[in-house]
Symmetry: D2
Subunit: 330 residues, 4 copies
Amino acid sequence: MNVFGNILKISIFGESHGDLVGITLDGCPAGIKINMEEFNTDLARRKSGKIGTTPRKELDRPEFVSGIYQERTTGAPLTILFRNQNTHSKDYKDFLQQPRPGHADFTAYNKFGGFNDHRGSGHFSGRLTLGLVATGVIAKKVIFPVFVNAELIEAGGMKDIDQAIQYALRKNDTIGGLIKCKVENVPVGLGEPFFNSVESLISHIIFSIPAIKGIEFGSGFQASEMLGSEHNDPIINKEGKTETNHAGGINGGITNGNDIIFRVAVKPPSSTPKKQKSLNLETDQIEDLEVKGRHDACIALRMPVIVEAVTAFVLADLMLQEQKVPRVFE
Amino acid sequence: MNVFGNILKISIFGESHGDLVGITLDGCPAGIKINMEEFNTDLARRKSGKIGTTPRKELDRPEFVSGIYQERTTGAPLTILFRNQNTHSKDYKDFLQQPRPGHADFTAYNKFGGFNDHRGSGHFSGRLTLGLVATGVIAKKVIFPVFVNAELIEAGGMKDIDQAIQYALRKNDTIGGLIKCKVENVPVGLGEPFFNSVESLISHIIFSIPAIKGIEFGSGFQASEMLGSEHNDPIINKEGKTETNHAGGINGGITNGNDIIFRVAVKPPSSTPKKQKSLNLETDQIEDLEVKGRHDACIALRMPVIVEAVTAFVLADLMLQEQKVPRVFE
Amino acid sequence: MNVFGNILKISIFGESHGDLVGITLDGCPAGIKINMEEFNTDLARRKSGKIGTTPRKELDRPEFVSGIYQERTTGAPLTILFRNQNTHSKDYKDFLQQPRPGHADFTAYNKFGGFNDHRGSGHFSGRLTLGLVATGVIAKKVIFPVFVNAELIEAGGMKDIDQAIQYALRKNDTIGGLIKCKVENVPVGLGEPFFNSVESLISHIIFSIPAIKGIEFGSGFQASEMLGSEHNDPIINKEGKTETNHAGGINGGITNGNDIIFRVAVKPPSSTPKKQKSLNLETDQIEDLEVKGRHDACIALRMPVIVEAVTAFVLADLMLQEQKVPRVFE
Amino acid sequence: MNVFGNILKISIFGESHGDLVGITLDGCPAGIKINMEEFNTDLARRKSGKIGTTPRKELDRPEFVSGIYQERTTGAPLTILFRNQNTHSKDYKDFLQQPRPGHADFTAYNKFGGFNDHRGSGHFSGRLTLGLVATGVIAKKVIFPVFVNAELIEAGGMKDIDQAIQYALRKNDTIGGLIKCKVENVPVGLGEPFFNSVESLISHIIFSIPAIKGIEFGSGFQASEMLGSEHNDPIINKEGKTETNHAGGINGGITNGNDIIFRVAVKPPSSTPKKQKSLNLETDQIEDLEVKGRHDACIALRMPVIVEAVTAFVLADLMLQEQKVPRVFE
């Protein structure tokens, strides 16, 4: 199921070492001004090349091939392509015999009878998130003046992220991280009971991003240790503002007008430079495995903008359904 | 959006103090033996009346009004109704003026322009989960011999649950809890990339259950503090068995044949017997609020069976899509 | 797939000789006044008892069991039940061995491995359309002042319908009919390219009604014999009014502001009182078959109101998507 | 809604005079052999250049940019692009002021607030069907040995098609046509009651193709004039073969094992070379309109292969759901 959304829908496609990765956004309101430059900011936040990220360098230049005319959205499906250029597929050949621990090598091989494109993890690659980020740029315009902001607040358990990266590099290993996302200026009433609660939709798409292991809203796991009288957020004005925000801005699955707050746990990249053990399917022996290819020491560094993008997408879809945004912009 | 699922679909309806709550299960394979008695076990696990739960007593007797003939599923939609009998609606009248903190009173009122049925929280009531549990009984048969088991492993932060309940009652307050769910005997290959990863679908429906604040798979939030070399699960045999299970049985969103493991955080019930503060919308003053009605000190006590039910539903839907269950049983 | 619609969704359930038939309407705007009496008019138009229709008499009294509070829709799913009372199931026992020509006996038996409820055609019965008619009453309020009107314009090829019925009864046989549907006061811009053209959605649900064999919009099949210069409808004012209406009110799948016009062909009921031939699956011989049970000589007599109902439903869904109706009525 | 299908899904995008048109096929079984040459046969049947069709010549060469590896489908989304090369956009400039009768100019302008790409009819162009034909080539492999065949059986009301084209050219006008589609070797049991009857799904997608005005299954509109005893198809063997096939191979919305038969009415192209009248929105006068651009005298000539393609797609989706095709080919 490579399609997600209700009124607003995204279709994702492409492979890491194929021709391209891309996305089609359907149901986007007409008349939204598209400035090609605006995409650079968000795409740069996802880009590799910084310390702690993969040395694979890609231009990551979006090609807008449909749904835009005279620099505005037309209401027709908007397709964005990203060419793959810097691919080293031979690094991946051996993973057919010896599936990498923590990767989709084994599961994809089994699900698709060995016909999956395994090069660079194929359709399972984090490279697929490029389209999500591009979609997010548009979604952020749809939901304006609602504002989504995500940041990495911990890496490898440390609050000083630079230090954490140094630690990982020194250890010749990889580390995970913790991302916090805050949505400000949220209207009351988003979320569709029973099954499309705001938490349901956000968690659904967040867990589509590779490497996510957990999500919690507001007080989250800590709520399980609190008393009801501590946890409840007293309402203090007619707009629904609450004194505290343990609910993370959501009651009964519907936004209450306070900031939406959630945190996301990112695992350390499975492609650690450290030598590992894994079964060789051909010899049926557990053997040493060295993961070549070019990988991230801390993929979480590149993920806040992805978290923002998919959150903006979910909110845009809910706001369209709640008729809080026009079908045609002017 | 009160409909969920792909091949297998559930439609949920009803209100806490209306005539009934119910569910329709569509796409269920034909020929499954339905023994009315079997539903009692799971429904009893959700039932109130035990210490720490609400004194509202309901028969919770399922009426099967369609989709079953000669004690077998027919392939047509299967509708199950539960009559409401023991309702005290007058307890809820005041919450229109003074919305209860932590409840959907304020959000539902705003979303539905005041036309929502607020009695007993209406369509937002935990009573809606009755249908989910009944559906789960059937879903568990569909996925057999896959086996789902959930249990409450902590309440109010304590591992001794009885002691936790005593603590809550003594404090005249409510407490949350932590539920662990394990799925055994899982086939390799369930989950539909990119958007219908197993984690995406399970978290989507888990967050539809009232009072859930967080979910984590496998190592979960702890993963964010681990090194890649610690977190990776070495594959040790051709069936994909791994030495450890930090992945929680899922790689790349697809089941890897190991147990699916996840944990769910449940908040303390918002209806604490303690006096609270909340805005009175009529006087525009923050005033004392006493939540009458009959409520649970620890709703998490009743929730493991609900977690099992929705998990079994998601797996049944994925197994049908992957053609791991027949369309017609015999 | 017993669920249909996008923002507005219906779930249908029940069997002809089971406990009940019913429907759940999800996504209905809150605040719509529901007057129980109003349903009688439309339900009466579908009712049997008139000459040319089955002598099976049912009260057809709707029970509204959820989604309504203080005589208004609440925004929660609205479920309507119709009890079955006057059932003669023994009339249907033999059709397991000797499937009735033109009926779903053979196909349903094969699809569901013999587990389908075959009594009175089970889930395939025209009785399922009761829920559609009830939904239509609400949908007509949602789309107001858009107005849907359908009528039987021919039966058995004759324009004088009374005469046609007399002919059928005299022949001891059944006849089909032709229904014309007109929608007035349609806003410009309904319909969602590419796949949810107005024609696509209307035809989808029209062909869900049992016994429909064809549908044509505007000039329909005659268009295939016309010249372009004859067929084109010249636009004559700024609102898009056209001189002729060969397009049936739709261009490019989108309403153009003129009346939507379509015609539907209804086959003669398969349950003719005439003796027929059909294979006896037990003897493997082609044998005489007499269809007992109580049936309609011309089911088309009862169908205009069903055509109106499903058309109103489709338009309501499209108008919600196009934000031409509020999410909350007042 | 530019997405269609259940297990198998297509997303369509592109404009007639933009960069390209394309399609993404999701849910396609893995392992299907893709021979680039095979696409040529079906694409050639849709191609222009023959007498009676537009002189716009396009290479119509499919670029497969994802979902294929080593000449086989991978199970990941399969995206196919067709570059636009031979575009004359200036021919379309005037249609903003003076919308062409019979076209989507007026409706699209209104729906999308004037932001739609109107050049060459933009997203409403018949050129979008290129992707459908390419998808059809794959769908035909999925459903093998089920076989779909469509042909033009009448044009402008005449059975001699060449003569009909000559007539249209002589008249300096355009003509419509009648297409008959037959599906052979159909398994019993396809179709999902209540709403996804085979007729519902086929008509839904058929009416997405531009220029379709009607569809009828089996005896179709003629059924409305027949007696039940004439219309019923006696079953003559255990496989469900019937003596006649008035039902068009479908009973109760489910295939009965006989050939599926339907007919589709195609209107004459709205872009007639004849001078027409239409409102000039700027002058508010009804003025002469000459449609330049390059157009088809009989678009129905190019449509049988499109009808086949979408029919094959619907059947593939239903066969996957009914588990009549593997998820992985070998």
